[in-house]
């Protein structure tokens, strides 16, 4: 079976998804402060890598990368509620892209496997 990444339309579709996802994150009062003062283009590239991974596209991310990449945010108070908010925004993005609910649940489950690494536990 092809990955959700391929079913959505591969890289071009992910680019569109990143714009939608990033807009939601920047408008979300629960988490938007983590995104102040950062280079938007670099952040968008990282979000693209993240979406590519959770949708089953090409990636070689490791738990260590996730740990290192978020350590400075954990120091600023990143916790489970923020992680949940991001997953929620991702779900809303996929819903907007007409991804069926059971697939969104699969993606959320994949995100879940990164939780402890992202939160540095």
């Amino acid at each position: 079976m092809s990955s959700l990444y391929e079913q959505l339309g591969g890289e071009p579709a992910i680019n569109a998804a990143v714009d939608i996802f990033y807009r939601k994150v920047l408008k979300d009062d629960r988490i938007k402060h983590f995104f102040d003062d950062i280079d938007m283009a670099k952040q968008a590239a990282k979000q693209k890598a993240f979406l590519t991974m959770v949708l089953g596209g090409p990636n070689k991310y490791t738990g260590l990368d996730m740990r290192k990449g978020h350590a400075h945010l954990v120091a600023r108070g990143l916790n489970d509620s923020h992680f949940d908010a991001v997953v929620e925004n991702l779900g809303a993005t996929l819903k907007e892209l007409k991804v069926p609910a059971e697939k969104i649940a699969e993606v959320a489950a994949l995100c879940e496997t990164t939780r402890n690494d992202v939160l540095g536990r």
Binding site: Y22, L26, A41, A49, K60
Partner: protein, 331 residues
């Protein structure tokens, strides 16, 4: 087997190896994360030789045009010299051809580099007062066929070491040192129907003026809208030139904005970002160019993105990260 040169050392790139694999195997520390050509952590620049187009997948066109590439997906086909994406810029001597006053605070300095310098309008150079003191200035000129003279706009800053020197000491006929051009805030031909929105404050107009002329020279047909702001009319400049350009090109619109209390007829009232956003509710599909006050640039990036502009279509040069200096346009 193609050879990769980095920092004066040359390495053989093994069969089916990427530039990233080759360099890290030799102990060269190249930052990386996804190893799939997506996160752009491993972005480098080919300073000599060409990289396969596949190694530039997903990069902004302005980065691809300057030979940036992703080391983790780059399988070189020929010998290349590579550098970190933020390597130090090369220096050239240049003659000062003229210094022209643009308003009470800003002069236009025209320079002729000792050797023809390739550049794109909107990029920036460093201007050196001496070996230790330099500032970034955006290029307001468009390279012409015969020579590669460059023009910068220099605003006199309070206690400005370099700007004070330019305003008070520098004269036509002097020789100075400048760097090669850098920066990703420039016009790339293609999509001639796309809307271009340019927002600038003060001498942040310099790169935008270069970009507008470049786009028009390339026959850009879509709307090109410039919002230039200052506290008062005296802070604006090139007003007549821009009005004339708007008369000559129906697709070019010039909106001078005044954020202070006194707003004469013909000028829009409010900060440049307020005025621009009041006239645009949906920027889907637009290309955005931003320059000037760092806070305005940062807010404008976010606000234009939130109303539809794609991150990859937003261009600004807030600073050059390695040198950690202040914005190029207004030093």
């Amino acid at each position: 087997m193609p050879k990769i040169t980095f920092g004066g050392q040359t390495y053989e790139c093994g069969e089916n190896k990427t530039v990233l694999e080759c360099l890290t195997a030799q102990g060269v520390p190249v930052p990386s994360a996804c190893h799939a050509g997506i996160c752009q952590s491993c972005m480098m620049r080919a300073v000599k030789g060409r990289v396969p187009a596949a190694a530039q997948s997903g990069l902004k066109p302005t980065l691809a045009a300057r030979n940036y590439f992703l080391a983790c997906i780059c399988h070189p086909k020929e010998d290349i010299d590579v550098a970190y994406s933020d390597e130090v810029l090369q220096k050239y001597p240049a003659d000062v051809l003229s210094i022209t006053r643009l308003n009470s605070e800003i002069v236009c300095v025209q320079l002729r580099p000792s050797q023809p310098m390739e550049y794109k309008p909107g990029q920036f150079i460093r201007l050196y007062k001496d070996d230790k003191t330099s500032r970034f200035y955006s290029l307001a000129s468009v390279p012409d066929r015969d020579n590669c003279n460059v023009q910068i706009h220099v605003r006199k800053m309070p206690h400005g070491t370099v700007s004070g020197w330019v305003h008070d000491r520098l004269r036509a006929g002097d020789m100075v040192k400048i760097s090669e051009s850098a920066g990703e805030c420039f016009y790339v031909p293609g999509h001639p129907e796309q809307g271009l929105l340019l927002i600038g404050t003060g001498c942040g107009l310099a790169p935008l003026y270069g970009i507008i002329q470049d786009a028009l020279a390339h026959g850009h047909r879509g709307p090109i809208q410039l919002y230039h702001g200052s506290l008062n009319v005296g802070g604006l400049y090139l007003i007549e030139e821009l009005k004339a350009l708007a008369r000559a090109f129906p697709n070019f619109k010039y909106v001078p904005c005044i954020s202070g209390a006194e707003v004469p007829p013909g000028f829009a009232a409010g900060t440049v970002l307020e005025v621009a956003l009041a006239e645009h509710v949906d920027l889907s599909g637009w290309r955005i160019f931003l320059c000037g006050n760092p806070e305005m640039v940062s807010n404008a990036k976010r606000e234009t993105f939130l109303i539809g502009a794609s991150v990859s279509d937003i261009y600004a040069d807030p600073f050059l990260p390695t040198i950690g200096s202040a914005p190029p346009a207004c030093q």
